[in-house]
Each structure stands twice: as C-alpha cells, then as structure tokens.
Symmetry: C2
Subunit: 327 residues, 2 copies
C-alpha cells in the first residue's frame, strides 16, 4: 500500500510524535519526500529519537501548528498532509482548556484555510479520536453513534474533525478523518499517561515497579500503531474516503484487567495494583468502548494485522532497548 507514495511530497504534522514518526518510517521506505513538522513541546509526543536512522531521509521543521505563517509555507506543494498534531491529554484539556482550543481548534482551522488558499490539491487525513463519542449508548460504536464528548479535549477534537469534513464538502478539498481508538506501540510516550495509559504501564513495568489499573472491568479495543498507519495510508490514497469519517478499532476487545495481564505475560513477569477509579476521572469516564470499524474495512480494504499480545510483545521489546530515550 506504500507504493502510491513513491516520489510524492508528504507533510506530517506531529511528525516527530508517536504515530507521525512511525508513519514517516513507512513513507521513507516507500521513497516519499517527507517533511515532519513538530513543536517538540516536552509535554507532548515529539521526540527526535523517534526518527533515529531515518533523520537524513526526512526534512525536519520545528514549528508549532499554531504558527500560521509556518504552516502557510509548509503546506504548499504537498501531495498529502497527515494532520496528526494535537493536544491529547484529557486532564491537561481541563486544566488549561484554552491551550487545547488553540491547538485542536484554531490551528486546525488555519491549516485548512492555508490548504484552501495555497495547496488545494493536497489530500488531508486528520487524526480524530473515539473520545468524541463520550459514554456509548450501544456497542460496538459505529460512526453514526451520537457525539457527546465528556471533556474539553473531546469537544475541541470534534470541532477540528468537523472543519476537515466541512472544507471537503464546501471547498472541494480532499479530506477525511480517522477516529482512532487506543493506539499503542513503539515510540509512544511512556513518560506519563498523557498520550495513553499503556505508556506509563510499560514504563513502570520495565522499571520493575507496580503499575496501577483504574477500575479494570472497562472494555477497550487497542490498535497497534502499524495497523493505525495502514488505515492512514489506505484512506490517504483512496478517493472513496474523501469527506468521510472512519472508526479505527482493534482486536480483540479486552477489559483493562485482561490488558494488564497480557502485558505482564508479554513481559514474563511484573505486577500491578487494581485501584478504585479516582473521583476526578470518574466524572469523565466513559465506561466500555469498542469500535465498529466495518465502514473502514469496506471502503478501503483495511483490517488489523497485529494481535494485542503480539503488539504488546513488540512494544516491550522496543522499550527494553530504548527506554532511556523516553524518560
């Protein structure tokens, strides 16, 4: 599926981050001309080590998506824009809602305005999130499920997603959005739980410490990052995806407790403590979630290839070798 990108110009916002850097690796292999935009804000996902080994085959532009002038220049002449930069922490969005708004709403609008004016032929794939569904009415959650975000981050990501679809519909830009579930794998942030709770679990496990499972009965689906990237690449190259929003899910559906057990098994040891859900998180807890992603499967032929057990094994292997680059 990478063939379509040979010789193409590709811009990735959040390009030094978890998903962005893994995507860059795939695109570099495909001989795409890749530019990575990243702000390298310490609390977010960017890390120069993420592109170790490919640093000479990508162009790195350190700037923030809130910098309209930078983005206006960078979008020009691109064939593809993978728009992955975002503030992802739900707690941070509650403590500093305006910053979340600037990144997840205002910057998105200015990126789209830049594309409309200066790069109308670029195909745009936006990384949205299942967080915008809120607490599900039914399972699995399909794309027709009502949107009821339970935090500022969810509201803002919803607006950012809608801008993309609107600009597709009204201005004829080619844009689509993927509502990602819990994405995990090598190069994710493990310093803390800002990007995913699996990150801090992996770190603590490898440091020989006990990690905490909050609640434990909640059902989730997880997407190994290479499967997520398949979805990004397939929707980017497929016109049938334009103007559409797709769930990206993962197999199997598991409880948090089962996930913790799988992680400990993959590590051949380790321990965790089950803890009551903290009150401040309880208010924005969504209970069970897993995605119906048949729309994506049918539209572009995507399917996940990596089981959770295998994905966790590969993730641990990566951090066993490189943990010191991430903490």
């Amino acid at each position: 599926m990478e063939e379509a990108f040979a010789g193409k110009r590709v811009l990735i916002t959040g390009g030094l981050g978890f998903i962005g850097s893994n995507l860059a690796r795939r695109l570099v292999k495909a001989d795409a001309q890749v530019t990575l935009v990243d702000s390298l804000i310490p609390e977010y996902g960017g890390n120069l080590f993420n592109i170790a080994g490919i640093e000479d085959r990508v162009r790195i532009n350190i700037s923030d998506v809130r910098d309209e002038h930078s983005m206006k220049y960078l979008v020009q002449g691109q064939d593809y824009l993978f728009n992955l930069a975002g503030q992802t922490s739900h707690m941070d969005s509650m403590q500093d809602p305006q910053t979340d708004l600037e990144i997840n709403v205002r910057a998105q609008l200015s990126i789209l305005e830049s594309c409309r004016k200066y790069s109308p032929a670029a195909k745009i794939v936006f990384a949205s999130t299942r967080q915008i569904y809120g607490k599900p009415d039914y399972l699995p959650v399909d794309e027709r499920h009502p949107l009821r975000p339970v935090d500022v981050n969810g509201i803002n990501k919803m607006a950012g997603e809608w801008y993309h679809i609107l600009y597709n519909n009204v201005y004829g830009l080619a844009a689509c959005a993927l509502r990602l579930t819990n994405t995990y794998g090598p190069r994710m942030r493990v310093k803390d739980a800002r990007q995913t709770f699996l990150g801090i679990w992996v770190r603590l496990l490898l440091e020989g410490k006990s990690f905490e499972v909050w609640g434990g009965e909640q059902l989730r689906d997880f997407s190994y990052v290479e499967d997520t990237i398949d979805a990004l690449l397939l929707t980017a190259q497929n016109d049938a995806a334009n103007g559409k929003v797709f769930n990206v899910g993962g197999e199997p559906v598991v409880s948090l407790l089962e996930t913790a057990q799988l992680l400990v098994e993959a590590n051949r040891g380790g321990e965790y403590a089950v803890r009551t859900f903290p009150a401040e998180r309880k208010r924005i807890d969504i209970g069970d979630y897993y995605a119906d992603d048949r729309l994506l499967r049918e539209a572009v032929g995507w399917h996940p290839k990596t089981s959770l057990a295998e994905g966790l094994r590969r993730t641990l292997l990566y951090y066993q070798n490189h943990l010191y680059q991430y903490i």
Copy 2:
C-alpha cells in the same frame, strides 16, 4: 414567570442586540438589576436604540465577550447570565472563520472559566442554534437528532454549546442551552440578512422595494421574540433545565413562500421575487427544518403564544415607526 427575577442580578451578553434587548425590557419590568454587555460592532446586532425608554434602568457595559478581563469582572456576583452574544452570519463565518471561532468558541470557554472561578452560583442560559443540526434526517427535528453542521458557524456554535453542558456536568455550574430556530420580531437587525433573512425582507418591504425569496419551498418554523424570551426565562428559573439542551420551535410550520405571502398580507401590500438558490448558498442549504420542542414544553411548561401572522404584524408595526433607527 418574571417574578423569579425581582431584585436579582442579571447579566446579558449581547444585551443591546435583538433578543438581549427584548429580554432586558422584560427583566426591567420585573425589577431585576440588569447589566447589558455589548460590543456594538456595526455588523452585529447591537443597537442603542433597542433600549430606548429603559436606558436609565439598566447598566450598560460596552465591551466584547472576547475581552477576558472585562468578562471576568462582569460575571462576578450575578445570579443569572443570559449568554446571547454571538457571531450569527453563516456567510461571514465562511469568509472570516477565525473571527467566528474567537467569538463563538474561545470567548465562550473564557466566559465559562470566569464563571467557574468567580461566579460558580450563577445560572447560565446559552443561546445555541438549530443550525448545528445541518440537513435533517427526519422531521420534526428533536434534540436527539445527529449534529452535522454545514458551515463554520454551526461547528463553532456546537462547540460553544457543548462547553456549557460540560461545565454543568463536570464543574457543577448550572447551565443549559436553547437551540433557537428563526427568531424574529421588533429590534431584529433589518439592515441586511446577517441575523435573519426576515430582517432584510421587512426592510425592503417597508421601503417599497421587492424582496427576494431564495427557493421558496423550504419549510421553516419561526419563533416570535417574546416566545423565545419566555423560553429563556423559564429555563433560567427551572433547575430541571440544568445540563440540558432544548429546541425552541414555533407555530405554524410554513414554507418560505407562505412566509413571504403572510408578510405581504400583514403589510397590506408589497412584492417579492422568487429566485433560484444561489450556488454559494446551495452548498450549505439544509432543506426543510422544523423543531420538535416537546422536551422544552414538558420540562418547563413553555408554549409559543404568538402566531406567525400576529408576530409579523407586530414586527411591521415596530419598523413602520422606527425603521430609520435600524438602517
């Protein structure tokens, strides 16, 4: 229903505008202590003439809801906040999306942050819009209908509405939102169609000119401003409304052509031309819309009292006397 407001401190954003000024008149009659915030930006709805006769019984504060410092001070000590300020023009939101975002998204978040920090006991009623539904899947549209905004204004109003509900749910602020349909009546903007197309119809009719009906078959419901204000007052004083979103509709459901005919009849003469929907509007046209507002009726005992024919008659009477103050 105004009795609950006697002696209470009430802040109205957009207080010199169409709905805000009519609301102020009702609250002044009820002996509330009313503060009106308005930016008086010429393209928006504020007009000092709107408070002619009550100017000595309200406090007027000329400032913009984007001015965080002003809002932080003004919300303090209020019992009620009617949060009506907004950018309402769909075309303006497409031509200058960032300004729409600043007013309808960022300012809303900072108002809510100010309330959370400095006025947590104030009850907040937010003026949302039926525009966020987009093109209806079914009629009449109830509050469970999916949200699919078709313009930047709709996306931004949706985010603003969600912030209000979120702050109710997470922080215990008392807030609710009304999704207003086409509101009309004395003190609406008639200079152009920025607030409502009925405005420019009324102006042209009274100037003896032909007005334009775009399309004509589209069904709509209209809410006479005094009925809209009943909804604002009832939801403000009723705790059962907290955290909820309500449609506000109107009777009867009519086509745009029927509306034009009713307006001409109310004026005892006048003419209009039926015109094909302009291409630039067609892309964001939503077809038929009318609201199911039973939730509001059941929750707070609201019902509309003014028929469209009677409302149009009163509106024309107002502008026959005062048109020169509005053009």
